[in-house]
């Protein structure tokens, strides 16, 4: 076969683009203080009609509201919402949901606890009543508390066995220390063991109240129907007289260059995660941060080009900007052979510094912005996808018009804005390595400052320094 040097035939050029019509979200506040957001089905010729309605209820209060000793409390509470109500046992809830062919989930992140539902249109009102029941009237049966807790502890063992997952947990600790985003959302085996039913009941009572909640309903119904459903189902929810929960801003430690190695000799490969304290979702530099991350991430992004395509060091490398209510985290990750760790760390750090030291070419930005636009368009292809985007906007205090404004804001980012973001962020970077330290730790220590090694049996994510107290 000959080297493909000359393009003998060029790909045909595109035609004129067709525009996306996103549904417009509208909102109302119920008399009890609950914010309700509704959006309609999109209409289009020859559209395959999907008879689905989605709902999402978000309360402000998640893992960042926990103390260190209570790590995992929000997640434990939301996991239990579907495990018993004043009217139904866990089995009865599961059977009712499966019998309706609905999907009902509840989970917590750092900033919020979220319950979500999708159901086919004819059964939606029935499913919505059940949704209301699990949100407002969970009973937290003692036996379920024990069962969910035991399962959560078992799941931790499973997630710690993956080098990549473990590296991300450690990265949270390295970035945030004892600040609210430092401890794992899922808690630790030690903290979970101490959480009792009273604390769970108190957490629910404190945060699950109409004036601390946002409800999103949309899809195969017009907004007036969605508002009527919300009023009928949640209109009689009364806010308690206790004052609303107060949010205290966090003060994470200043970023510092360091390398933390978790020695896991049985790991198949070594997870490499470079990270740095990032920005809040509402930060003015958010759009620049998203574009900078897109320059680094994706198959054609710089990290994957350097790590996989040019050097074959890994199956992939990517970057992530996690923006929350408070400044979150920037992460660049890959997974490599134990013998390639030093090379991979160098390549990842050089790639990040490269973006900080020179603005990207305008042509590179055109293509990387297109990836953001395409990803966003796909995320709103489904009804629950649109509900999810609106939920994040509502949670982080971003206007709902952002649904339509997001892509124009991304378009407005120029090369200098990207470089400014990179220069401000890709400095004092930390690196977490989870793998067989014996193979690479000497080489890393010889070439990098501030290297520490934690044997796996000394790792405790419940501690701000991630190390077991002797």
């Amino acid at each position: 076969m000959s080297q493909p040097i000359v393009a003998l035939e060029k790909p045909p050029s595109p035609g004129a683009p067709h525009r996306a019509e996103l549904p417009v979200a509208v909102e109302r506040t119920l008399a009890n203080g609950m914010r309700v957001i509704a959006f309609p089905q999109r209409s289009a010729p020859k559209a395959y009609a999907v008879p689905i309605i989605a709902a999402q209820l978000i309360v402000r209060g998640g893992a960042s509201a926990e103390t260190e000793a209570e790590a995992g409390l929000a997640t434990l509470t939301t996991s239990l919402l579907t495990q018993g109500t004043v009217n139904r046992s866990a089995v009865e809830i599961a059977q009712a949901i499966d019998g309706l062919g609905a999907r009902l989930d509840a989970s917590s992140g750092y900033d919020a606890s979220v319950a979500s539902l999708t159901a086919l249109t004819p059964v939606f009102p029935t499913a919505f009543a059940l949704f209301d029941e699990i949100v407002r009237r969970p009973s937290f049966p003692q036996a379920e508390v024990e069962r969910v807790r035991a399962k959560a502890i078992g799941d931790l063992a499973l997630s710690y066995s993956s080098p990549s997952a473990l590296a991300r947990f450690v990265a949270q600790r390295v970035a945030f220390g004892s600040a609210p985003y430092g401890h794992p959302v899922a808690g630790t085996a030690e903290t979970l063991a101490t959480l009792d039913r009273e604390r769970i009941v108190a957490f629910h009572a404190h945060y699950f109240r109409p004036d601390n909640a946002t409800l999103i309903v949309g899809g195969d119904c017009v907004p007036e129907e969605a508002f009527a459903l919300a009023e009928r189902q949640f209109g009689d929810w009364r806010a308690p007289s206790a004052p609303l929960p107060v949010h205290a801003p966090s003060t994470p430690p200043p970023p510092r260059t360091r390398i933390v190695i978790i020695d896991k000799p049985d790991a198949g490969r070594t997870a490499v995660v470079a990270g740095r304290l990032g920005i809040a979702r509402r930060a003015p530099t958010y759009a620049a941060g998203v574009v900078a991350t897109a320059v680094l991430s994706g198959y054609s992004g710089r990290l994957n080009q350097e790590v996989r395509v040019k050097r074959g060091l890994s199956y992939g490398a990517s970057a992530q900007l996690i923006a929350r209510r408070e400044p979150g985290l920037f992460l660049a990750s890959t997974l490599v052979d134990h013998t390639k760790v030093e090379e991979a760390v160098g390549v990842v750090l050089d790639t990040l510094r490269g973006l900080a030291s020179a603005p990207p070419e305008a042509s590179e930005l055109v293509t990387r912005k297109a990836t953001i636009s395409g990803g966003f368009s796909r995320s709103v292809e489904t009804i629950d996808g649109i509900a999810g985007v609106l939920g994040e906007l509502a949670l982080y205090g971003v206007p709902l018009s952002e649904l339509g404004d997001y892509l124009p804001e991304i378009e407005a980012v120029d090369p200098e804005m990207v470089q400014r973001f990179a220069a401000a962020t890709f400095d004092e970077i930390f690196v977490v390595l989870v793998g067989d330290a014996e193979v690479f730790s000497a080489a890393i220590a010889a070439t990098h400052p501030n290297v520490s090694v934690i044997p796996l049996d000394q790792l405790d994510l419940g501690q701000p320094n991630a190390t077991r107290v002797p």
Partner: protein, 428 residues
């Protein structure tokens, strides 16, 4: 085509597709839908892990990677540039019977991607250097998915032990040693043998004008010649299993002991397939499923328990897999699985449970119709793995027709001890 009504009384519109075959043998399926200004393009080839050449286990999958490595007209990764760089996506997967390539792009780029897919069917040209780099990447994928991932090796072991004769026993990901032995000549031969229009199905779903799309398809795909040589097909037939096979494997990175049962079942086109899907759902879908209720929720002998009716083109496997909870001996997990199988043999499921299962299947079916690419992948798989894309529109009717007696019948027929391969997968 008629509208189908699911168990929950929901009218589900059929997927309205056109179906034609070009003179060179390429089958073309189109679905017009303008909800979102994008199109999903799928090109599925009737070649998968089972068709790997002798001594080249994993080759179909390695080849899938090489299809991104350039043609006479383009440099390597052109498909990535033409998709990702315009906000689209592309990927490919290799299964036992199919290798499928897909792109989702803004609809104004449809012609560009049709050209690119026809180009790599007609003129793939891979260099020695790219071949070596990509082979390392594939071996890296093996390390990542099979070695580093907890329980990653179990799927491989199940195929290897359950099939004595059929090449399904080699799995898809293959053997790193075989891959290291592969040469660029193998690549050329493989492309010539299997990548031909009469061995492929093209599906386009989304914001398209059918007349325009068909004209582009004729222009770019129509000029790829149909070779005269016959396409080699797997003719091996797995002999009926007559006694249980049991194995114990120990491996690093096994956090908790696991057990898997695999039973031989027929091919996807077989009339028993819908009943086997119903059994899978009844045992394994959702928290009201029998395995979850019994093993995870009530007796807590397992942290997870799954059922899978893995229906393939030529033969299938029905598997049950459970991961023990901390401190539970694996014998106890097996006993709990045995009790659930025994219950299927002994008792007819009640009407309410059958209704729940049908509603679950109908709902997940509707959910999966939300994106263009899901529709396209479903069409391409149905076209290749059961030679009948239209079967998608009658699947719900077939599920509705499955009775409680059918469930018991297929459980008694296939979920038997002598038809079973058992693997205990334990920590070192």
């Amino acid at each position: 085509m008629t509208s189908t009504v699911s168990g929950a009384g929901i009218a589900v519109a059929p997927i309205d597709f056109t179906d034609r075959t070009l003179p060179n043998g390429l089958r073309v399926l189109l679905v017009e839908d303008h909800r979102v200004p994008s199109v999903a393009i799928n090109v599925g080839y009737r070649v998968g892990g089972k068709d790997d050449p002798p001594g080249r286990s994993g080759f179909a999958h390695l080849f899938e990677h090489l299809m991104f490595k350039g043609t006479k007209n383009t440099r390597p990764e052109t498909i990535d540039r033409l998709t990702e760089d315009i906000g689209g996506l592309n990927n490919a997967f290799t299964a036992d019977d199919i290798t499928n390539y897909y792109e989702v792009v803004p609809s104004n780029y449809l012609e560009t991607l049709l050209w690119a897919e026809a180009d790599r069917l007609g003129s793939l040209a891979v260099t020695e250097e790219h071949f070596h780099t990509e082979r390392d990447v594939v071996i890296g994928e093996y390390d990542q998915r099979i070695l580093a991932e907890p329980y990653g090796m179990l799927d491989e072991l199940i195929n290897r032990e359950a099939f004595a004769v059929h090449p399904y026993r080699r799995g898809v990901i293959g053997d790193p040693e075989n891959l290291r032995a592969a040469t660029l000549d193998d690549v050329v031969a493989f492309h010539r043998t299997f990548y031909r229009p009469d061995n492929a199905v093209l599906v386009v779903v989304g914001d398209l004008d059918p007349a325009q799309a068909n004209a582009w398809i004729d222009k770019y795909f129509g000029r790829v010649p149909k070779p005269a040589a016959p396409i080699p097909r797997v003719t091996a037939v797995e002999p009926p299993q007559t006694a249980e096979r049991t194995y114990t494997y120990r491996a690093a990175n096994v956090p908790l002991p696991a057990v898997e049962y695999a039973y031989h079942i027929p091919e996807w086109r077989h009339p028993d397939a819908p009943a086997l899907d119903i059994v899978e759902t009844l045992l394994g879908m959702g928290k009201s499923s029998r395995l979850y209720q019994s093993l995870v929720y009530r007796s807590r002998v397992a942290t997870t328990a799954h059922a899978n009716a893995d229906l393939r083109e030529q033969a299938g496997l029905f598997s049950l897999r459970a991961i023990a909870s901390t401190g539970t001996p694996i014998e106890q997990v097996r006993a709990a699985l045995d009790a659930e199988v025994e219950r299927l043999h002994a008792e007819l499921p009640e009407a309410g449970e059958m209704e729940r299962v049908r509603t679950q299947i109908a709902s997940s079916f509707v959910r999966s119709r939300q994106t263009y690419n899901n529709i396209a992948v479903a069409l391409v798989r149905s076209a290749i793995e059961r030679d009948d894309p239209g079967a998608l529109n009658t699947d719900l009717d077939r599920y509705r027709a499955v009775t409680a007696a059918d469930v018991q019948r297929v459980a008694r027929k296939y979920l038997t001890l002598e038809n079973r391969t058992t693997i205990d997968y334990l920590p070192l």
